[in-house]
């Protein structure tokens, strides 16, 4: 096939090795651990950047290792994968910084950072996997590496949440496993992009392929938190803020969404999927989840819970975009993968900052918080505008494309769903913004952290500002080459105009 390259493997190793080393360190070797962590994170961003540059020049990277007979471990770089890998690596760097600040002085940090690194390894592995089997391996690895993070606090509540999380994800993984093996047996080892294999089989194995599609979709829908398989997401909010941020913005939920994208576009192929009417049920469930998540979010007083239900809703934009056939909606779906990540991570950072600095975790406590933490809340507000879909923030771009795509495909009801969702987004996010900026604080709040001149610790503040700005920039500079939108367009172009 293509020239074998160690580079994709290096991208994985850049977080795997630090993670392993951190595991072997002692708890009190803080500077070394921090150094390793940051080294890995920076290296990963650098490597992804390098590969990206190379890919742009037209080079191809793949790493293939035969596990057993026809079972192949394959890492391959393509645009979609790189896109997701870039998102993961950049957000990992930011989140690592945040986590160092957030967990300062906490317990079991060795374990935390080790698994944190593993988690990102899994996430980039998912991004770069070249075939279904490799994808599945990392998909399960992700489940395992996030479990210790969810139960990190060790409280009974956390452990209970961990259990729910596991039942859902292991269950989903098992169902996916069934589908993956079934696909393997029916169609052989499918590399992503080889849609012609399914195309060739469609006349003889139509029923099997349909069943397998839905089996795999069910498995992926668990992590993508599509109704009714979303139950684990709000519960696992007990995890520390960086974990929630990573889980809900990048690693876990995106793994599911990304998997759906891969399944539809690179395994079955959008044409076949459409032809076999596989996408309508997905569209319906996604649309319902969008509305359902928003409605549930309305009634949450817990800050992180509200964010979690918002995630449930927002994630289904991606699934919905995938389910609507057309260049524009595909662009919207792919770009939302990134946009939603940046915006949601901003929100979780902000929530974490507030909780860490003032100990507030309920929305009703947030009166006037904007005056005390202007930068944090500023970034949060940007993200809110994005979520609602106000220009020029990133979220607007994705919604715009999704809407256009729906119109293009003639699915006007989707436009209605999008509008309703936007309205609901506004309904549950704007009150927070309003409280934060325009309400008088109820009582005299004493910061739990002494942070000098800044509103909170620098390590907590910088990430939120950076991601806030990023989500603004992604919208403002959407038209510039190299922006998420431009890349998403290229991906969509390749799909529709071969």
């Amino acid at each position: 096939m293509e020239t074998t390259s160690i580079l994709p493997l290096l991208i994985l190793i850049s977080s795997l090795i630090p993670g392993t080393l951190i595991m072997l360190l002692r708890e009190d070797q803080v500077p070394l651990r921090t150094f390793l962590n940051l080294l890995g994170a920076v290296a990963k961003v650098g490597l992804v950047g390098w590969v990206f540059a190379g890919y742009m020049r037209g080079e191809e990277y793949s790493f293939i290792f035969n596990l057993a007979l026809d079972l192949t471990f394959a890492l391959r770089v393509d645009q979609l994968g790189l896109f997701f890998a870039a998102l993961s690596s950049v957000l990992w760097l930011v989140t690592t910084l945040y986590a160092i600040g957030y967990l300062e002085g906490g317990q079991h940090r060795r374990r935390f950072f080790a698994f944190f690194s593993f988690c990102v390894t899994a996430s980039t592995g998912i991004a770069l996997s070249g075939n279904v089997v490799t994808f599945f391996i990392f998909y399960e690895f992700l489940t395992l590496s996030t479990y210790p993070l969810v139960v990190h606090r060790g409280t009974d509540k956390a452990v209970e949440a961990g259990r729910t999380y596991l039942w859902y994800t292991i269950g989903g993984g098992t169902v996916l496993f069934l589908g993956v093996v079934g696909l393997f047996v029916t169609a052989g080892p499918i590399y992503f992009g080889q849609t012609e294999i399914i195309e060739g089989l469609i006349s003889t194995h139509s029923t099997q392929l349909t069943i397998l599609f839905f089996i795999m979709l069910t498995g992926l829908a668990v992590k993508a938190a599509i109704f009714p398989l979303h139950g684990w997401l709000p519960v696992s909010m007990v995890a520390p803020a960086p974990v929630s941020a990573l889980l809900h913005a990048v690693a876990v939920v995106k793994a599911g969404a990304f998997g759906i994208v891969r399944l539809v576009y690179d395994v079955y192929g959008i044409r076949i999927a459409d032809q076999m009417n596989l996408l309508t049920p997905l569209a319906i469930f996604a649309a319902f989840t969008i509305v359902y998540g928003s409605v549930r979010a309305l009634f949450q007083d817990d800050f992180k819970k509200r964010l979690a239900f918002s995630t449930v809703s927002q994630l289904s934009y991606i699934a919905l975009g995938v389910a609507i056939v057309g260049f524009l909606s595909t662009t919207g779906a792919v770009v939302h993968l990134v946009h939603q990540g940046i915006m949601k991570i901003t929100m979780f950072f902000a929530a974490g900052n507030i909780a860490e600095t003032y100990g507030y975790s309920k929305i009703s406590q947030l009166n006037g918080i904007g005056r005390r933490m202007p930068l944090t809340m500023g970034a949060f507000t940007i993200a809110v505008f994005g979520m609602i879909g106000l220009p020029p923030v990133a979220g607007f771009v994705s919604k715009w494309y999704l809407g256009l795509g729906a119109v293009e495909a003639g699915s006007y009801w989707v436009v209605l769903v999008l509008l309703a969702s936007s309205a609901l987004n506004a309904a549950y996010f704007l009150p927070i913004v309003y409280r934060a900026w325009f309400c008088e604080p109820d009582q005299e709040a004493v910061p739990l952290l002494s942070s000098g001149r800044l509103e909170t610790k620098a390590l907590l503040l910088i990430p939120v500002v950076v991601t806030g700005l990023l989500s603004l920039a992604a919208g403002v500079f959407a038209a510039v080459a190299g922006s998420p939108l431009s890349i998403a367009r290229e991906i969509a172009e390749k799909l529709y105009m071969p």
């Binding site: 035969n66 596990l67 057993a68 007979l69 079972l71 471990f73 374990r111 599945f136 391996i137 399960e140 690895f141 489940t143 395992l144 479990y147 210790p148 139960v151 060790g154 409280t155 009974d156 452990v159 961990g162 259990r163 596991l166 039942w167 292991i170 269950g171 993984g173 098992t174 169902v175 496993f177 069934l178 093996v181 079934g182 393997f184 047996v185 029916t186």
Partner: protein, 511 residues
């Protein structure tokens, strides 16, 4: 058959452990242990050399006494036997090292169980003999060697529960052996030979053959604790000493499976029926679900692990229906057989490593806590992180998550299931995985949970933890040579000519 290259290795693989076991009897307590450990290492190393020899020269044989079958007995070391012997060697070496340290640590209070060593070496000889044997009656003798030494090891602790469980185990084992032997008698009566290779050529289908197949299969299922004969396993395995539990579940039950696989593939190809396969598969399926569920309901670690063995052995039974296609069905792929039986072999290996590690970890925990009630596992991660890690890794392999050995086994099993068109087994495999995940993560959840009250964790030798961890890692590392291993297994015409009748059944549909 007899034109294959001969090698002295098979003779030594059986003789050496017996020699060392016998010699160790001349020593007193500590000396027995020294000789025993040295003997284990020696046997293990030699087994690995033998494995190497087979990879180099292919199947080798040893014609005992120079008398060729059918009058004499032939030892045959083909890739399948070599893989089982190699597995026994690796797992055996680590369990021996563990046992040495484990018994040393309690020498003052218990006397250090010196009898463990000769019995274990006898057991090892029996296992090697079983894997090498190519003779129906000789298989019976090796089964008995294994049975007696295994029960003797199981009751070594001298506790009441162990004795009762041991007696039940022994009676069941004798019953199984006798049922097997009855089948052997009928086979001998109708063919006049006991050699597996010859039988594969001359055995004719008929009432007698079918009945022999029935009693042999039942007898072996009793010995490998297949449902509904699983009742003896959990008490026997859970009440034994930790290294013994590891040996029993990792190696001993696999012996019966090995014979069953050999006989079905090599000898009874002519009289297998679809219904027989489905029945044994059903037993396996029930074992998977029931065993996992029972494991989930237990409150002591060793009982969880022991019930888990019932379930994991169920997977082994589930490969048998895949060998026989439904009447009129032709397989999609010409080679639908090899995923099925290699899945069985892989499951055996993966389970051996993972389960041995699990039981060794349980032993460490008992040593540290004085008991193994799982509510005391709280904050295990804080106290004994190596053991916790070993449990986690072994558990993940048991569940079958990638990229563990258990995953490879399940992958191939599911592949076999789909290739043979018997999709209805797939949900069982997955439900079993989920239930396994249930009890494994129940343990891990507790391991991560904060301690409610101060549990007194006594210090435990680090080397014990390392042994458990190495075996757990082994259950992952076996994925790396998977490709070579499977090719190796399929290289040596493992099942002689007998397998042809099974292949024909697949091609024409069975009647």
């Amino acid at each position: 058959m007899t034109d294959l290259p001969t090698s002295p290795f098979p003779a030594f693989l059986v003789g050496l452990p017996v020699l060392l076991a016998t010699l160790s009897l001349f020593f007193r307590a500590r000396g027995k242990a020294v000789v025993g450990l040295a003997g284990s290492l020696l046997t293990g190393v030699m087994a690995l050399f033998a494995l190497f020899e087979v990879t180099r020269r292919g199947t080798v044989i040893h014609i005992l006494g120079g008398w060729e079958p059918p009058l004499g007995i032939l030892l045959r070391m083909d890739p399948l036997a070599a893989v089982f012997i190699g597995m026994t060697a690796v797992v055996g070496i680590f369990i021996s090292l563990y046992a040495w340290r484990y018994f040393r640590a309690q020498e003052a209070t218990t006397g250090g169980f010196p009898l463990f060593w000769p019995l274990w070496l006898f057991l090892w000889a029996g296992l090697n003999g079983l894997f090498l044997s190519n003779d129906l009656f000789n298989l019976f003798v090796t089964l008995e060697v294994i049975g007696i030494s295994a029960v003797a090891l199981a009751v070594l602790s001298g506790k009441k529960t162990a004795l009762v469980a041991g007696l039940r185990y022994l009676l069941v084992a004798i019953t199984g052996s006798m049922a097997y032997l009855f089948g052997v008698a009928l086979i001998y009566g109708s063919t006049g030979t006991l050699d597996l290779g010859l039988l594969g050529q001359v055995l004719e289908p008929g009432t007698t053959t079918t009945f022999a197949l029935l009693v042999i299969t039942l007898g072996l299922m009793i010995k490998m604790a297949g449902f509904p004969f699983h009742f003896w396993l959990p008490p026997a395995h859970s009440s034994a000493l930790a290294p013994v539990s590891a040996l029993l579940s990792a190696l001993v039950v696999k012996g019966a499976f090995y014979i069953l696989l050999r006989l079905w593939m090599e000898v009874f190809g002519v009289s297998l029926t679809y219904a027989a396969g489905q029945l044994i598969g059903l037993a396996g399926a029930i074992a998977v679900i029931w065993g996992s569920w029972q494991a989930f309901m237990q409150t002591s670690l060793k009982l969880i692990v022991a019930h888990s063995s019932v379930a994991q052995l169920g997977y082994l039974l589930m490969i048998f229906p895949l060998l026989i296609l439904a009447p009129g069905v032709t397989a999609d792929s010409a080679d639908w057989l090899s995923p099925a039986w290699t899945a069985g072999v892989y499951q055996v290996i993966a389970h051996a490593f993972a389960k041995a590690s699990f039981f060794l970890s349980a032993g460490i925990i008992i040593m540290a806590l004085g008991h193994d009630r799982i509510e005391s596992l709280r904050d295990l991660v804080g106290h004994m992180r190596i053991t916790a890690l070993a449990i986690a890794i072994a558990g993940v392999s048991l569940i079958g998550l990638p990229p563990s050995g258990g995953f490879m086994a399940k992958w191939m099993l599911l592949k076999g299931i789909f290739l043979s068109g018997q999709w209805w087994w797939a949900p069982v495999v997955l439900t079993g995985s989920l239930l396994t995940a249930g009890y494994v993560f129940m343990l891990l959840r507790l391991a991560f949970a904060p301690a409610r009250e101060k549990e007194a964790f006594r210090p435990v030798p680090r080397s014990l933890e390392v042994c458990a961890l190495v075996l757990a890692l082994g259950s992952f590392l076996i994925v790396l040579p998977a490709d070579n291993l499977i090719q190796f297994l399929q290289s040596g015409e493992v099942f002689g000519t007998g397998i042809e009748s099974i292949m024909e059944g697949g091609a024409h549909g069975n009647d």
